[in-house]
């Protein structure tokens, strides 16, 4: 007889032991001597995969379908083979990004999307609840079963009893308490639970020992070894049919879909993710775990068939639920101790699963569902609260309770109609929906947020429609009609036969049917939408960081997405709010140590510390929320967009700079050309000037020599020669004066004698001076002068020089016969306008451009080089420029030329300023 008290005492004693292990584990972790930092603990903790479903259910399934149930364990074995490639990548990514849950992982991969995190959380919670209900069912059923020991009374399904007298309800509450104790003992809401891992590893050991004990008892205690048991089973046709499987293509589909589901489950069940990824201490542990874990699965399955066949041999009438064979066989053998051990083993399997699963789910609910909403509610103003760690713990505890109560509710209303394994498969199918988004996310950069979101939602919808709706219908929440005839009688939409899929011909069971449709829709939509949508900059960065994690992980700390700065005190208080003051200070001190900075002196920080803080926060509240919180204290717009703009801006500046350089070098080049030209012109000028000087000098010298050698020369001739000598000498002085003038003007050393002048007088004086020349050439001179003009300010001698230059210039080019020069003067509003017009050969438009340039002379093929230095007009222009006037020429070849200039009436602005060659 097993007293209820004994059972409860042992059960609570066992849980106490677990708690002690967890406590010791945490203590040792704090001291830095982790007991979980070895591959064996890690591998054993992964065995949380084997729940009450395995412990009780696999025998039950073997008793119904024989060897086919093994697919649930061969699938994970296949995944373990690739564990080093897939799991290590997920672990590395998660460590670098401080990922705390599967929702966090998916959200982070697709641009830290809060929406995606919420959706994944909802799918996970709803998908896992049936699974949790299985554990509640297993504990409460086995408790009721063994409390009747030694009589075997199959407990009735107690759905009609009130909740408060239902053992399962108290089981659920107790499990919630244990989850609190294990998962939220610390005041800091951190993601790691070393003690918990140790306890889970211990539980794995206990359930394996318990199951092996039952197996050995059945095989060697009740029968004479394996051979005896199997040969007896072979004799019974109802049992020996399980020795083989139906290998027709039709029925092997179930085997494949089970393999597929278990492969997804081992990777993406929240509790597997929690233990394999989040709680992983060292990725090197994976090396041993990838064969230790399959070995564990193999060991725990060794006796599944013997126990199942033993049960079938003992209870051939089917009166005993095969799910309980593990307990009922020791019970009929009157092995009270073994029964208790098995019960504890089952309790280990169930409680381990529930505790880890609720911790994982509560982290997701808190970080990815509740906090993002709370942080965005303006009236709560959570962002300003000084300490949020207690709020976080409250939310986590609340969500743990919620998950377990939902699990109980599902048990209470639905589970009684299903076997353990069937319920588990509903959860597996839900979890498999994460497959495309995660595997696609870590191996394919093209997956987009929208694609993942649409794929997940679609797959989840199909899951709900094809698996959950029928189960609810069976529980009486929906009419059976809905399932049998389809909604509104549309048979195309029957949940068990979507689009009239011929499930019988294909050999699809309900789960294969759901797996097929949900994965088809999920994968198809994920891929198609990803191909058709564009990634944001953030998504693109995250995609690259995830897919190429091994390429970037070495310098991951440096490649931050934050480009802004934040003040250290602001970051410190932000961290303190979520992590607690102590841990925040510790974390900052650690960063300061490793980066050799003094946090007390540094007031603003760089992107490195901002990223570090974000990751720390992500550990507590999830990456999406952490991003929002950090953004609130970081100054600049952090996104990569800004970065790109910076880079673009930089590029633009470089382009501008190089353009400026080009321009400058172009200017230099032009100046150089000009200098070269000037140099050439100066050479020409020198040769011109010397030529011009030599000509009169030669004639002066020749005539002087003639006069010198012939003292008795004819007086008339003497007179003539003397006149020529005088004229040539004058011409020489004129040339020399021109050169000197030009040089003076150019170098700014010209002395200007400014006075008020009547320009009419200047013209008259100039004409007077030129009269001889004009008459010599028989040129007709017309003066067009007004009676009175306003006075101007200017240098009289220079302006006379201008007029002389222009008149002599005109005279020079006038035809020998009928030459005519017109000089005009007009007073206009603010200036005087003067023109000197001749009817000479004219100047071609091309030459008009250069006549005012120094050293330029218009060359004419027929007349040769004109007389003069080529400086006259140039000097003229500079004099006019000095007087702030303009000078220009209008002409055409053969139509004479008209030189005009203006002089401003207000001469006050005239200042003495040097003029440069380059002006």
């Amino acid at each position: 007889m097993l007293e209820k008290g004994t059972i409860l005492l042992v059960a609570f004693g066992y849980m106490g032991l677990l708690f002690a292990i967890a406590y010791a584990g945490d203590k040792r972790a704090e001291m830095g001597r982790s007991i979980i930092s070895n591959p064996y603990t890690y591998a054993l903790s992964l065995a949380v995969y084997c729940t009450a479903w395995t412990f009780y259910g696999s025998v039950g399934r073997a008793a119904h379908s024989g060897i086919g149930s093994l697919a649930v364990y061969t699938g994970p074995t296949l995944v373990a083979v690739l564990g080093w490639q897939i799991l290590r990548k997920i672990i590395r990514i998660s460590k670098i990004n401080r990922i705390t849950s599967i929702a966090d992982f998916i959200a982070s991969r697709y641009g830290k999307s809060t929406t995606l995190a919420g959706v994944v959380t909802i799918i996970a919670v709803l998908g896992i609840i049936p699974y949790i209900s299985v554990q509640i069912k297993a504990i409460s059923t086995t408790y009721l079963l063994i409390s009747q020991y030694p009589s075997i009374t199959v407990p009735e399904h107690l759905s009609n009893i009130p909740i408060l007298s239902d053992t399962a309800f108290y089981v659920a509450l107790l499990l919630a308490v244990f989850a609190f104790l294990f998962g939220t003992r610390h005041l800091e809401a951190t993601e790691r639970h070393e003690g918990l891992v140790a306890a889970i590893a211990f539980e794995s050991l206990v359930k394996l020992i318990a199951f092996l004990a039952v197996g050995l008892f059945v095989t060697y205690g009740m029968y004479n070894g394996v051979g005896d048991l199997f040969s007896k089973a072979l004799a019974v046709p109802d049992i020996s049919k399980f020795f083989v499987i139906d290998v027709s293509a039709k029925s092997s589909v179930g085997w494949y879909s089970l393999t597929f589901l278990s492969m997804m489950a081992i990777l993406f069940l929240p509790r597997q993710f929690q233990l394999a990824v989040v709680e992983n201490v060292n990725e090197e542990h994976l090396k041993k775990a990838i064969w230790l874990f399959p070995l564990y699965l193999l060991a725990i399955n060794l006796f599944v068939l013997p126990v199942a066949f033993g049960g079938l041999l003992h209870f051939p009438d089917g009166s005993i639920d095969a799910d309980t064979f593990v307990l009922t066989l020791p019970m009929i053998g009157h092995q009270a101790g073994l029964v208790l051990l098995v019960f504890i083993g089952g309790l280990s399997a169930a409680s381990g699963m529930v505790i880890v699963e609720t911790i994982a789910l509560s982290t997701m609910i808190c970080n990815d569902l509740v906090m993002p909403v709370l942080l965005r509610l303006p009236f709560l103003d959570l962002a300003r609260r000084s300490d949020l760690s207690s709020l976080l713990l409250t939310i986590r505890r609340g969500s743990m309770m919620l998950v377990l109560l939902l699990g109980y509710a599902y048990y209470h209303y639905v589970v009684k109609y299903y076997s353990l394994v069937s319920i588990g498969l509903i959860s597996f199918t839900a979890v498999a929906q994460f497959g495309p988004a995660i595997l696609g996310g870590i191996f394919w950069k093209g997956g987009t947020r929208t694609g993942a979101l649409c794929g997940l939602l679609a797959g989840f919808a199909v899951w709900g429609y094809t698996l959950v709706l029928p189960s609810l219908a069976q529980a009486g929440f929906l009419s059976e009609h809905f399932v049998m005839q389809g909604p509104f009688g549309i048979s195309l939409l029957r949940p068990n036969q979507l689009f009239n899929l011929n499930v019988t011909a294909l050999g699809f069971d309900q789960y294969t049917h759901a797996v097929f449709w949900s994965m088809l829709v999920n994968l198809g939509i994920y891929t198609m939408v990803s191909l058709l949508t564009r990634q944001t900059a953030m998504e693109h960065t995250q995609a690259t960081l995830f897919v190429d994690v091994f390429k970037y992980s070495a310098d991951m700390d440096k490649s931050s997405f934050w480009r802004g700065t934040a003040s250290v005190p602001a970051l410190r208080s932000l961290l303190a709010r979520f992590l607690g003051k102590l841990r925040a200070n510790e974390a900052l001190a650690e960063y300061a140590r490793s980066h050799h900075i003094n946090p007390e002196q540094v007031q603003t920080t760089d992107a490195g510390l901002v990223s570090y803080s974000e990751k720390l926060l992500a550990g507590a509240i999830g990456s999406a929320s952490a991003r929002v919180m950090v953004a609130s204290v970081v100054k600049e717009e952090p996104l990569v967009i800004g970065d790109i703009m910076d880079i673009l801006d930089e590029t633009r500046q470089v382009i501008i700079y190089s353009r400026e350089l080009e321009k400058a070098s172009g200017e230099l080049k032009a100046a150089n050309e000009r200098l070269k030209e000037l140099d050439k012109l100066k050479n020409e000028f020198i040769s011109t000037v010397t030529h011009e000087l030599r000509t009169p000098l030669t004639s002066v010298r020749a005539l002087a020599e003639v006069l010198h050698h012939n003292p008795d020369i004819d007086p008339v001739q003497h007179q003539e020669f003397s006149r020529i000598i005088v004229n040539e000498s004058e011409r020489l002085s004129r040339l020399i004066n021109d050169v000197l003038d030009f040089q003076k003007i150019e170098s700014g050393r010209m002395q200007w004698q400014l006075s008020r002048l009547d320009f009419k007088k200047i013209i008259e004086d100039s004409v007077q001076a030129m009269n001889q020349l004009i008459q010599d050439k028989h040129i007709r001179l017309d003066l067009d002068l007004p009676p009175q003009v306003p006075l101007i300010t200017g240098d009289r001698d220079r302006l006379i020089q201008v007029m002389l230059n222009l008149i002599s210039n005109a005279a020079k080019f006038c035809p020998d016969a009928q030459g005519a020069i017109t000089i005009g003067l007009h007073a206009e509003a603010d200036h005087l306008k003067v023109h000197v017009t001749d009817n000479g050969i004219g100047i071609s438009p091309m030459d008009q451009q250069i006549v005012f340039k120094e050293f330029r002379q218009v060359k004419d093929a027929t007349r040769g080089r004109p007389m003069g230095t080529g400086l006259g007009l140039s000097i003229t222009k500079r004099i006019i420029d000095f007087h702030k006037g303009n000078i220009w020429v209008e002409s055409g070849l053969g139509r004479g030329a008209s030189f005009s200039f203006t002089l401003p009436l207000k001469g006050e602005s005239i200042e003495e300023s040097p003029m440069s060659v380059f002006s």
């Binding site: 296949l78 083979v81 051979g227 499987i245 193999l298 191996f443 091994f550």
Partner: protein
Amino acid sequence: MIGQTSKTGLSVGIFMLGCVLFSNPLLALFNYKVLLLGVPLLFLYIFAAWLLLILLVIRVARIRPRSAQIRGSQDTEDMTSP
């Protein structure tokens, strides 16, 4: 010689071997209601195949990557996506 091959390649190979071992044509080969060593043949086969896979994984896990001596480069060694 085995160290010259990429670990990823070997792992993928074992994975594919596992898929073949656990699927129909091969399962059908052993699908008879007979006992071998006192154990149903199919049962024995599946566990043998399972054990084989585990042994192969152990063997591959022991392979040190070519560039193991060079710290850091070890990480990128095998991560060409399967």
